[in-house]
Point group: C2
Chain length 347, copies 2
Amino acid sequence: MSKYFRLVQITVVAMLAVATVLSAAAQSKSAPLKLEKEGSFFVGGRDVQSDTLSLDPRYAASGTITIDQVYVHYQVPVKAKRHYPLTLIHGCCLTGKTWETTPDGRMGWDEYFARKGFPVYIVDQAWRGRSAGSPAAINAVKANKAPLDQLPGVFSAGHEGAWAIFRFGPEYPKVFPGMQFPLEAQTEFWKQMVTDWSDTLPTPNTTVPALSELAQKVDGTVLISHSQSGIYPFQAAVLSTKGVAGIISIEPAACPAATDDMKPFKGMPILVLFGDYVDKSTRWAPRLKLCREFVQAANAAGGKAELTLLPDVGIHGNSHMLMQDKNSLEIANWLVNWINHHVGQKP
Amino acid sequence: MSKYFRLVQITVVAMLAVATVLSAAAQSKSAPLKLEKEGSFFVGGRDVQSDTLSLDPRYAASGTITIDQVYVHYQVPVKAKRHYPLTLIHGCCLTGKTWETTPDGRMGWDEYFARKGFPVYIVDQAWRGRSAGSPAAINAVKANKAPLDQLPGVFSAGHEGAWAIFRFGPEYPKVFPGMQFPLEAQTEFWKQMVTDWSDTLPTPNTTVPALSELAQKVDGTVLISHSQSGIYPFQAAVLSTKGVAGIISIEPAACPAATDDMKPFKGMPILVLFGDYVDKSTRWAPRLKLCREFVQAANAAGGKAELTLLPDVGIHGNSHMLMQDKNSLEIANWLVNWINHHVGQKP
């Protein structure tokens, strides 16, 4: 019988080895997603007192609320140990939904990066989405306790005006030729847009110190920002470089000025990424130019910064919302390669 | 060699059988969470025009925005096929965060139910969290285009006032003896609370038709509501019983009136669930009484409704936020048994 047992033993060991190799590799797109851990928490936040929390008699007018905290949802895939977590930070008038299922129902970057072995952290900016703001200023004015100009500066971007900002085309409803955004599902996209309170917040935005806290809490992360939040990772690095393993700023509304102190960025892997049609956009072309100047200044001061236009690496047709474009996973994959090459893994 | 191969074949078949049995069972709390699918989308929503979307010159004042949609995040565990999805609907001044990681860092009901084999759908109520509202009324008043009383009726619940509502104790900061809420982590709990716009919405709340749409989209779900949203599943069933496989209303602010038409609830498994200390709360004791009257009326009309106080089934010390109490998973497990017994699985 010993020969039988020996053969069974060899077979079992071989099967376990194959299983180990398979599970150590990136998780395929169609197989079940295996998570080591998932959950949510907040970073930042402070207590404030107010006498105008409510004008509804069911809820006390006076009391304490907590504001400025930033909601974080995370997923850690199995076998992620040495990959740096990725922190995804949405832009204007949007929430963390930006990175989830696309308007036309395809997999979001959140899940794709997790399947590639990266822990993924997604935030809602302060005063937006699941991150609380305060109604106190509105109620103070309504109760005649404050003048009209104390009303908060809140805005929503309308479909028509957002069209050119998101670079779907030169103006509403014209479409750039070769456009990759799934405009057939634009109805679903517009549902993602929420009211933006950022005009009422200080500079840097309250989200920035919260991101710095998050970066330190997870002991190193690549901060991936977009549009309005484009500059936040740079501002977080100015507060403290602790925990900032790298910065990927996607279509930033602004880069740091080339005249800024470049010390915080010395040796830090930085990628500024733009999509297509930028030269056709009076809104985005000047921002691209300023970002180029920043990248030059950072590198002159010992930085490891680069700026990439997707068409220059053979990827065409991308809007400002490139994480939702039809070729979004091709771009995500390009980013995974960039991260592996420039940021590497935890020591 | 044929004997060797036969033995290897038997061994492999046996191992596969063991693997199948293991994966068909509920997923244990410490093993990786295996998801067949996850993602997010919106239900509901309508386009509205406005001339006061923005007073910030960077964003157009006039245009179209989409409001009233409800954000839904879902996870489908492997081997979930015959379980009805559970839809979790948060209460006043909160968001879908309610059901995630507890303030003291324990597993939320979202993951627990998924590990028990249920697809889980979590919403943010309309005009809250990732579900958009409109800034148009605020801007109209600020721009002197509308009178002061057109300002929206928004409120936040302060810590002190919320204390007795959440039944942590009779009044702030007193604590009921045996309290299960993790008050040592209350700082993290207060961060979950957001501004509530529900006073500005119609009755039934805009979330209700969206829940009905969701129930039909997923082809059957148990609607699990809490507090402010307690009555929403009943209101959704009045709109249409399609897709409403059962209702679990946790500590509802209101049940349907006993004098309402009970036809929509005929044959529908309904559970109204309350925690502890209800008789000590002037806020909750009358609501419990009215819910008892509803349950009697529903059953008199051929319903399958029941009302349970957790202490009556041997579970003690629960606050209004019982999904976050220290014994939250014991309650979740009790609910799983209730669902399996009263709702059953898909045909």
